[in-house]
Each structure stands twice: as structure tokens, then as C-alpha cells.
């Protein structure tokens, strides 16, 4: 069994960054890139800044947006 107390500082920082980014609606860019490479080889992959704009538009977007916001 993996000891939960033995997480390296680097992976903790990475995990925190990913959490913070997803909190504001930006999913993991590396996961997106690796998904595109695996599932759609040869097809175009958005650059990070295009990816960022795409996700920003989608979160608050022109089609209703999906910003889930509670009282």
C-alpha cells in the first residue's frame, strides 16, 4: 500500500496547482495534450494560450457558460 505521508513535495505542489487551476475552470493542459496524442494522433493540438482562451470562453462563455456558482 502506498504510504500517504510519503508524497514528495514536488508532486504535492503539482497537485495543488492543478486543484487551484481547476477551481477556476482550467483543466490539466498536460492531460489534454497526452489525450490528443493518444486518441487523435496527427490531429492538431491547441497551444497552451489557445487552450486557456478556449477554456475561459467555455466557463463563462457565450453559450450560457457553466460557471457553477452557489449562493
Amino acid at each position: 500500500m502506498r504510504n500517504p505521508f510519503k508524497i514528495s513535495a514536488a508532486s504535492l505542489a503539482r497537485s495543488l496547482t492543478r486543484t487551484a487551476r481547476l477551481m477556476v475552470g482550467i483543466p490539466d493542459y498536460e492531460a489534454y495534450v497526452s489525450h490528443r496524442r493518444q486518441a487523435h494522433p496527427g490531429e492538431p493540438i491547441m497551444s497552451y494560450s489557445d487552450f486557456f482562451r478556449d477554456r475561459q470562453a467555455s466557463r463563462y462563455g457565450t453559450d450560457g457558460g457553466k460557471i457553477g456558482r452557489c449562493c
Binding site: 482550467i26 457553477g68 452557489c70 449562493c71
Partner: protein
């Protein structure tokens, strides 16, 4: 279960029982906050370990091998399998807003005990169950939204009814949140200046993240945060400078007009310019402040000075009118159960779940976390001297506008306070007056300032902490107003679009502006009405908000119950049926009293009648200053009464649809729920 874990859980149960016992039975001068915190943490841990597990394995039968929408439709964007803890953070950030911080503060007028018990029992048996069940239902339906699921399981008409309900809630929510901001900023140059500065700061961040360093959220947030803190520190000079202060010193009416104009312009601006950057700031500040407050409470371990139960459980309280049942359960919506969460649990979260079994920690667990946030708000409010608490939360109509009249009125209720103490409290937080700052935010800010300043900085930093807390609440409320106005605009365009199809074009400027104007005037109407209300507005608006939010929760739980019946799991249907019935009873009783109570402080119709009778003899009652005002008050009463009636009708209609669907499911020999069939991941 191993012996070791049995021992641990027995210890948690014993500690929880002792803490709950102390919270419930202690009648001394004051009680330490640790007992509330421990009672809540132990109850929530036990609930997550045992009740949520029972729901996961027996009721919902989560299946670790069943591919989730994220796996089946993985596109790396909307649908992507996400690590459990990362997704938990996302979900929690989406559900935790201003609601769980305001409700408990208002409910504190009845003492800390009733609110705390409801926050514990409500989160465990109602709120977390709702979030969990809706999340599960959505995962099993390709991540569909609440509206789509209601349409599929209960019929098209029920779906449209529910969507109209959502729109009404949205309007009341935006009005009540805007009112909270107005109440906190009224005649407070320091707070108004800092909040106003968030606009240029956000625009600066937006330009940085769009053109200079695209997508560097961390960098832009740090820049924004530093500028924000500078604005906060500089705000004190603004407030003390006789030439600058008047520029940021506004009455409630002026502020509400400004907020409406702001809501209109902000929601037609491109998102990267204002909404997105401020959303980053407010989200991170919110999470940071919640962590800071938790840390502060654990370090300081403050004593609660409010009695366990006050005499105001009979409904005569100054903060909100109405007796413990049903109004406590309406006042504390978020934190115990919030219908809004059903929209989030069927929003982005189900599309990102990596494994079905994670739904328990995320759906159920995140709500318990929000319950804990609400407990902290309760602690912050009840650590204040009760006299200070009532000075902050009572309307001017009851306590007057001078420290002397306020101290006399509050002391006569049995909470001794002197005018000097009230003046001192205002000076401590750097304000001219703390009287009648209703709406919860200022109370929370004073409570947080007390807790945080005893951890860091002492009296010297108290004013800073107070304005920091106001800023933090105003920041995310403004984000909600902006985002909420946008969402309502699309909903309005969609609704009108069913009659005039061309209205649906979201790129059309004409349709955009008309729909935005409708949305802003709808919530603006209730906001303005609340601002001029002599009872402070929160008094009228918060119960309406609570009723509508609980009504949505009731609808979501009815959906859950119907699905369980359709899946032939009726023996477990009590899990969702019991909280649905309870909420139905609370909202309908509260709605009934708001409509038909003889007491003009509670019943809208009685209030209208009182004013109508005064009009017959040409008498003018406060807040009206003229005969025209009198007519306006009466119109407002009828608008509020109609709205309450509408919300009640919505609950009844949905209950009928639910019952019909359940009877049909019982007659049906086979499973009739519309789950997506099990499809292996691509």
C-alpha cells in the same frame, strides 16, 4: 473493519457524543467554540464513514467498474477523468459561496444551539444526500443537467416548471446578495474604495493574462492580490482624508443604482476583461480566507458569548421575523441544504469524475465541508458580545440611529450594552457606526476581525481585518452578480426564444441588451425595495431566498426519490424521501405564514392591509414619506406575496408530478429509470 479502526471510530463517536452533549446542555455564562467545532467534525466524520457508505453501497450501488462520462467522452476539455482530490477542490470551490456565511449569522439571533443542530443534522441527512444523489444520477446519464434529468424522468412540463423556479431563485439570490454588499458599503468610504478598486485591478489582471503572459493564472492572481492589499491599506487614508472620503461615501439607494449599472455593463463586457480575472481572485481569496478562519478558530479557541437559546425563538426577533419552526430551517439554507448545489452536482463535476466510487467523497464529502464553513460562521457571529451582535443586525426602525437609542433598545431586550461600547466597537473596526449593518457580512467581518486579530496583530490590526473580511465577501458576491446576470440573460433569451425564436441568437446585440436589461431590472427591483425597507430588507428578502432555495432542493430530492422508485429500490427511497418531505413541510409552512400571517411583520398580505387601512385615513406610515410611497409599499407587498404563492405552487406541482411518477413506477414490473446503458470506455 479491523480492531484498530473499530477503536478509532468508537473514539470518534464518544468524542462526538460528549461534544454534542456539552453543546446541547451547557447553560453557563459562555461556552468554548471548540465544543461546537468538535461536535460538527465528529458527526460529519461518522456520517461520511457510515451513512455515506451505506448510501453508496446499498442505495445508489456505485460501481467502480462502470465507465464514467469522463472516460467515455474524454476530450481533455469538458470531459476528462480527474484525480479525486483535485476534483474535490473544484467542486467545493463551486458550491461554497456567501450563503453558508450569511445564513448562520442571521440564525444566531435564536442562540447558537438551534442553528448548530440544524447545520449538523441538515448537512448529514439532507444537504449532502441531495448533492450525492444528484451527482450519481447525472453520472449515470452522461453528465446531464438537473433540468434535463427532470424532463427525462418526470416529463417536459415538470422540466419547464423547474427551470422557471431556477430563474426565480436566481433573481432573488442576486438581489439578496447585492443587498448584503450594499449594507456593508453604505457610508463606508474605506470599504467602498477597496471594492471599487477591484474593478481596475481585475481589468489589469485581465490584460496581463490575455496579452502579456497568456494563461498565467498564478502570476496574475499574485499581482492582483498584492494590488488588492495595497488598496485595502490605502483605503484607510481615503476614509480619513476629508477631500477623498466624500468621493466614496454613498447612501444605500445610490449604491444600489451603481450596482445595477455595474451588473449591466459587467455582464456585456468580454469575460477575460473583468469576470474571469475577478473570479480567480475571489475564488482563491475565498479558499484562503476559509482556511485562515479555520486556523484562527483552532488557535484562538474563542468563547461564545451568545446564549444557547434566546427568547427570540418565539418569532419576535429583530433580525428576521418568524418562529423557530419553520423559519430557522429557511434562514439556514446553504450549509445545511442548498438547492443550488443540485445545479453544480449536475454541471461540470459529473463530467470529470474518474471513477463512480469517487462520487461519495466529492458529492457527500464536499457538502459536509460546506456545513463546517457554516459552523465557523456561527462561531464568528456568536463570539461577539450579544449586544454588539444585535446592534449590527437590528434594523434602524427598532433601535434608532444613535448609539444611545440602540444601547437602550438592546439592553431592554435583556442584552446589556452601553453606548460607549458601541462607539468603541465602531472605532475598533475603523467605521463611523456599526448600527444596523444587517445582512450578515459585517457581523461576520467583526467576528472574523476579533478572531484573526487575537491570532495576529491584536487591536491594531482589527480595522484591517474587518475591511479585509468585507472585501473578501464583496469580491465574490460581485463575481456572482456578474456571472448570475449572464446566466439569467441566457435563460431569459431561451424562455422568450420558445415564443420568438430569433431571440435565442446569443450573438445578437439587440436580444442581448434587452435580456440583460430584463435580468438586471428583475433583481434590481427587489434590491431597491430591500434598500428602502425600514426593516432593513434582509428581513423580507432572506426568507424569500431561503424558501426558493429550499424549494429547489425539494425538487432535486423528489427527482432522486422518483429515480430510486423507478429502479425498484423503493425500500431505500426514504433516504431522499424523508428530507424531501421535511423541506416540503418547511417551505410550505413558511410560505403560508409569509402570505397569511396576521402579524404584519411576517405576513405580506397583513402588511399590505395595514398600509391600505392607513391610506384610507390619509396616514403615512414609515418607510413611506408620501402617499405615492404608501402605494409603492402596497404594490411591493403584493409582488412579494405573488412570488411566495408562486414558489408554493411550484413545490406542490412538483410533489404531484413526483407522486404520479412514483405510482407509475410501482405499477411497472420492470426498472424504468432512464440510465445510460453500461458502455465500455473507448
Amino acid at each position: 473493519m479491523t480492531i484498530k479502526s473499530k477503536m478509532i471510530w468508537t473514539a470518534v463517536a464518544v468524542l462526538g457524543a460528549i461534544s454534542l452533549g456539552i453543546v446541547a446542555l451547557w447553560r453557563g455564562e459562555s461556552i468554548n467554540a471548540i465544543w461546537l467545532v468538535l461536535a460538527a467534525i465528529c458527526s460529519y466524520m461518522l456520517a461520511e464513514r457510515f451513512y455515506a457508505r451505506f448510501i453508496a453501497t446499498n442505495v445508489l450501488q456505485l460501481d467502480a467498474t462502470r465507465p464514467t462520462p469522463a472516460q467515455r467522452f474524454n476530450d481533455g476539455l469538458d470531459y476528462c477523468p480527474t484525480d479525486k482530490t483535485v476534483l474535490f477542490g473544484h467542486h467545493f470551490a463551486a458550491i461554497a459561496g456567501a450563503g453558508p456565511l450569511v445564513g448562520p449569522v442571521l440564525a444566531a439571533q435564536m442562540g447558537y444551539l438551534p442553528g448548530t443542530l440544524w447545520l449538523i443534522a441538515g448537512a448529514v441527512f439532507a444537504g449532502a444526500v441531495q448533492d450525492f444523489v444528484v451527482l450519481w444520477a447525472s453520472i449515470r446519464r452522461d453528465g446531464r443537467s438537473l433540468g434535463e434529468m427532470i424532463r427525462a424522468e418526470l416529463g417536459a412540463f415538470a422540466g419547464t416548471t423547474a427551470m422557471i423556479g431556477v430563474l426565480i431563485i436566481m433573481m432573488i439570490l442576486l438581489a439578496v446578495l447585492a443587498l448584503v454588499v450594499v449594507k456593508a458599503l453604505t457610508h463606508s468610504p474605506w470599504a467602498t474604495f477597496t471594492v471599487a478598486m477591484t474593478i481596475p485591478i481585475a481589468v489589469l489582471m485581465g490584460i496581463y493574462g490575455r496579452f502579456l503572459r497568456p494563461g498565467r493564472i498564478g502570476e496574475m492572481s499574485v499581482i492582483g492580490f498584492v494590488l488588492l492589499m495595497l488598496a485595502l491599506v490605502f483605503g484607510r487614508h481615503v476614509a480619513e482624508d476629508p477631500s477623498l472620503a466624500p468621493l466614496f461615501d454613498y447612501s444605500g439607494e445610490e449604491l444600489s443604482i451603481m450596482l445595477m449599472a455595474y451588473g449591466f455593463f459587467a455582464s456585456v463586457l468580454p469575460v477575460w476583461a473583468l469576470l474571469a480575472p475577478r473570479d480567480y481572485l475571489s475564488t482563491f481569496l475565498k479558499i484562503g480566507t476559509i482556511l485562515g478562519l479555520a486556523l484562527g478558530i483552532f488557535v484562538v479557541l474563542p468563547d461564545l458569548k451568545m446564549p444557547a437559546v434566546t427568547k427570540f425563538i418565539d418569532g419576535s426577533g429583530p433580525v428576521f421575523a418568524g418562529s423557530l419552526f419553520p423559519f430557522l430551517f429557511i434562514t439556514i439554507a446553504c450549509g445545511a441544504i442548498s438547492g443550488f448545489h443540485a445545479l453544480i452536482s449536475s454541471g461540470t463535476t459529473p463530467k470529470m469524475l474518474d471513477n463512480e466510487i469517487d462520487a461519495r467523497a466529492i458529492g457527500y464529502g464536499a457538502m459536509l465541508m460546506e456545513g463546517f464553513v457554516a459552523i465557523m460562521a456561527m462561531v464568528a457571529a456568536t463570539t461577539l458580545e450579544p449586544g454588539i451582535y444585535f446592534a449590527l443586525n437590528s434594523p434602524a426602525a427598532l433601535i434608532g440611529t444613535s448609539p444611545e437609542s440602540a444601547a437602550a433598545a438592546i439592553s431592554s431586550w435583556g442584552f446589556t450594552i452601553t453606548p460607549d461600547l458601541l462607539k468603541q466597537a465602531a472605532t475598533d473596526v475603523g467605521e463611523a457606526s456599526i448600527l444596523s449593518r444587517t445582512g450578515g457580512a459585517p457581523t461576520l467581518a467583526v467576528g472574523m476581525a476579533e478572531i484573526l486579530s487575537s491570532a495576529i496583530g491584536g487591536k491594531a490590526l482589527m480595522a484591517f481585518w474587518y475591511h479585509f473580511a468585507i472585501l473578501f465577501e464583496a469580491l465574490f458576491i460581485l463575481t456572482t452578480i456578474d456571472a448570475g446576470t449572464r446566466v439569467s440573460r441566457f435563460m431569459i433569451q431561451d424562455l422568450i426564444g420558445t415564443v420568438v425564436p430569433s431571440f435565442r441568437a446569443t450573438k445578437s446585440w439587440g436580444a442581448n441588451i434587452i435580456a440583460t436589461a430584463i435580468a438586471v431590472s428583475a433583481w434590481g427591483y427587489f434590491l431597491y425595495q430591500g434598500v428602502v425597507d425600514p426593516l432593513g430588507g434582509i428581513n423580507t428578502l432572506w426568507p424569500l431566498f431561503g424558501i426558493s432555495n429550499q424549494m429547489l432542493a425539494c425538487i432535486a430530492l423528489v427527482l432522486g426519490t422518483v429515480i430510486l422508485f423507478k429502479m425498484k429500490r423503493e425500500r431505500y427511497a426514504w433516504v431522499t424521501l424523508a428530507p424531501a418531505v421535511w423541506l416540503g413541510i418547511c417551505t410550505l409552512t413558511a410560505g403560508w405564514q409569509k402570505l397569511f400571517s396576521d402579524n404584519p411583520a411576517i405576513g405580506f398580505l397583513a402588511h399590505a392591509e395595514k398600509f391600505a387601512r392607513a391610506l384610507e385615513t390619509n396616514q403615512i406610515l414609515a418607510p413611506a414619506k408620501s402617499i405615492a410611497d404608501m402605494h409603492r409599499v402596497i404594490v411591493n407587498d403584493y409582488v412579494n406575496a405573488t412570488l411566495t404563492g408562486l414558489l408554493g405552487a411550484l413545490v406542490i406541482i412538483m410533489a404531484c408530478f413526483g407522486t404520479a411518477a412514483i405510482l407509475k413506477a410501482l405499477a411497472e414490473p420492470n426498472i424504468s429509470a432512464r440510465e445510460t446503458a453500461i458502455v465500455p470506455a473507448e
